[in-house]
Symmetry: none
Amino acid sequence: MKKGTGPIKKEKESTIFDAALKTIKRKGFHKARMSDIAKEAEISYGLVYHYFKNKEDLFDAILNRWWNGLFQLMADISEREHDVYKKLRHIIDYFLDTYQSNPDLVNIFITEISRSTTNLTVSRLEHFKKFISLTEGVILEGQDIGILRRDFKARYLTNIFLGSLETFVSTMVFADQKITGNSQKNKIADSILEVFFNGSKIQGK
Amino acid sequence: MKKGTGPIKKEKESTIFDAALKTIKRKGFHKARMSDIAKEAEISYGLVYHYFKNKEDLFDAILNRWWNGLFQLMADISEREHDVYKKLRHIIDYFLDTYQSNPDLVNIFITEISRSTTNLTVSRLEHFKKFISLTEGVILEGQDIGILRRDFKARYLTNIFLGSLETFVSTMVFADQKITGNSQKNKIADSILEVFFNGSKIQGK
Amino acid sequence: MKKGTGPIKKEKESTIFDAALKTIKRKGFHKARMSDIAKEAEISYGLVYHYFKNKEDLFDAILNRWWNGLFQLMADISEREHDVYKKLRHIIDYFLDTYQSNPDLVNIFITEISRSTTNLTVSRLEHFKKFISLTEGVILEGQDIGILRRDFKARYLTNIFLGSLETFVSTMVFADQKITGNSQKNKIADSILEVFFNGSKIQGK
Amino acid sequence: MKKGTGPIKKEKESTIFDAALKTIKRKGFHKARMSDIAKEAEISYGLVYHYFKNKEDLFDAILNRWWNGLFQLMADISEREHDVYKKLRHIIDYFLDTYQSNPDLVNIFITEISRSTTNLTVSRLEHFKKFISLTEGVILEGQDIGILRRDFKARYLTNIFLGSLETFVSTMVFADQKITGNSQKNKIADSILEVFFNGSKIQGK
DNA sequence: TATGAATGAGGGTTCATTCAT
DNA sequence: AATGAATGAACCCTCATTCAT
C-alpha cells in the first residue's frame, strides 16, 4: 500500500547496480553477461529486468552516476569558484575522489567510454562533448585573465589538460593502484597541475 | 606459423588484413563479424580461416603491425639518436606518420587497445608495458642529462608525455581529422613537445 | 471451483474479466500479458491470480461466457420455438446481440477460437462440436418438415449457414463496424437468412 | 565458383520450408519453436537462419507460397476465362487443389491468417484486401452480365461466396478430412456453387 | 484482499568456427 | 585456394507464476 518504501527498493537496485559495476569492470560491458551480474548480486537474473529495462539501460545508469556527479560539480564550480587554478583542481579532485570512493566507476568510465567508440551512442557522445566544452570554458577564462598562454587554442590546452588527467587516472586504474589518503591525492593533483602549468623542463633552463 | 612468407600468399592475406582494419575500425572488434571482414575483402568468409587461425589471431596480426613498427623505431632511436628531445620527437612522429599513412591502424590502437581492458590479454598487456618502459628510459635519460626536472618520478613524466600524445591523437581520430602535410604534422608535434617541456602558463609569469 | 458466487467477489472479478476481454481483443491471447490485463483493470497483477487460477483459466472463463449464453439459447429454442426459420433467426440474433452488447467477446470468439487451432484444447473443441451438432439438429428438422432441400447432407447445409453467419460477423469484427440499432440488426439478419434460404430452400417452394 | 547450383540450395531450403509447414500446422505459429522446425527438418537450428532471416520471414515465405499461387490464378482468370461461373469455380478449385496437394498450407492459411488478427501485419492484411477486391470484381461482373442479383451489394455477395468456401475448407481442415479424388473434389465445388447461385442468382432466371 | 518483488524456464537470434566439396 | 553450408554454444530478454508481507 505504501508507495514511499523507496529505500527498500533502492536497496536491491543498489545491489544490482554495484554488481553491474563490479562485473562490467571485470569483464567489460560486452563480455559481461546479465547472468554474471545477477550471480554477482546473488539474485535471479530475471530480477535485474525488474529494476533495469535492459543491459543498455543498466549501463546508462552507471554512466549517469558518473556524469551527473561531474556536471553537478561543473555547475558548482561555475557558481562558487572564481579562481581558474582552483577550478581545474576541482575537476581533478572529482576524478580522484571518485576513484577513491568508487574505483570501479572510474574504471568503467575510462575503459568503456572515454576511449571506446564501441559503446558510444549519440546521447553518450553528447555528455562527452558537453564536459569538454565546459572545461574549455574554464581554460578560456584562464586565457582571458592572463594566466594561460594564448598562443595555443583553448581547445588544444583543454586536450592537454584532460589528457594528462586521464592518463594519470588510467595508469592507476590499470595498475589497480589505490589512493591511500588525502595527502597522496593532493600530491597527485598538485603534480598534474604543476606540469600542466609549468611544463616538465627544468625551470630556468 | 610464419605469416610473412610467399608474396603470392601475401597478396590475399594483405587484402584480408586491410579489410579487417577497415571493418574493425568501423564497428569495433567485438561487433565486427568475420563475415563483415570477408565481405569487405570480397572473399568468402571461410577463406579468412586459411590465412588467420581465428578472429583473435587476426586481431593480433593488426596489433603486431603497430607494435612491430613502434618497437623497431624504439630500437632505432636507442642506437642512432642521442638527443633526448629528438627521441621524444621521433615517438610522436611514429604516431603521426602512421596516422597519416594508415589512420585505421591508429584508430584501432587508440579505441580497442590503448584504453580498453575488454580486449586486453596478458600478452597484449606486455607490449604496452614494454613500450612504457622504453619511453620511461628516454625520460630518465633526460633527467640524467638535466633537461627534465627531477622532482617528479620518471614514470610520472612518462605518463604526462604519453598522455598528451595520446589525447592529441585521440582527438584527431574521433574527429576523423586528417593530417594534410608535413608542415601540419610538424606543427602538431612541436606543440605537444612545447607544452610538455614548457607548460601552459604564460611564460615569465 | 464455482466462479459466480458472492456479489462482492464478483465485482472485482468482473473488472478483471472485462479488462481481460479488452486486452485479449486488442493483443490476442498469446500476446496479452497478465500484467497488461492487470494494468487495464487498474489492479496489481498478483491479484488476478486470486480470482483466476492462471491465464488459461481466465481465457476459459471468457469462452464460457460465450458458450453458456449460446447453449442457454439453444436450450430455449429447443423448448419454446417451433418454427425452424425463427430458430435459425434466434441463432443469428445471439451473434448480433452479443456483438452489440459485447463486441469484444464476439471478436475473441471469432479470432481466437472459431478458426484458430492454436488455442484449441480438447474441451474447447467439444463446445464447438456440440454447437454444430445442435445447429445441425435444427437444419435436420427443416429438412424433415420440408422447408430445406434434402439433396445435401444436413451437415453440409449447416456449414453453409454457419459459414455465412460467421463471415458476416467476421467482416464487422475486422472492420470494427458497429450495429447502431435494431433496424440495422434486423436487416442484417434478414439478409443472411434470405440468401441462405433462397439457396438452400427446396426449389419451386 | 558456380552460382547457379540453385537446386541443391533449393533442396535444403525446401526441406526446411516443408518442416515449417508441418510444424506450424501442428503447433500454430506462436507455439512452433524454431528448434521444433529444425528438428522436424533434421538439421541444426542455426541452419534455418541460413535460409530464412527469422521466424517471421519463414512465415511470410509460407504465406507467399499461398498468395503467389492465388494471385497467379486470379491473373490467369482475368486474362483467359470469360465465364463468371467458371471464374468462381477456378477460385474454389485453387483452394481444393491446394488442399489436395498441400493440406498443411491450406491449414495454415485458414487457422493462422484467415481469421486470426494475432499474426496480422499491415502487409499481410494487404494481401487479403487485394484478394477480396479481385473476387469482388468477378462478382460485379456477374451482376453486370445479369447472372447475379443486384439487390445486394457486390461486397456482400463476395462475403457470402468466400464465407461458404472458407467454411467448407475449414471443416475439412479441422476434421483432417482428405479429398480422395477429382470426382469428390468436383462434387464439393459444384455444391458450393450450386448453393451460392441458387441463393444469389436473380430469381426466376 | 492486495501488492509487486522474485524466480527461472523458455525461445529467438547471432556468429565464430568447422568441414565437405 | 576457395566456397558457403552446417553446427551449436552463447546470450538477451519475456513473462507466467509464486510468495512474503
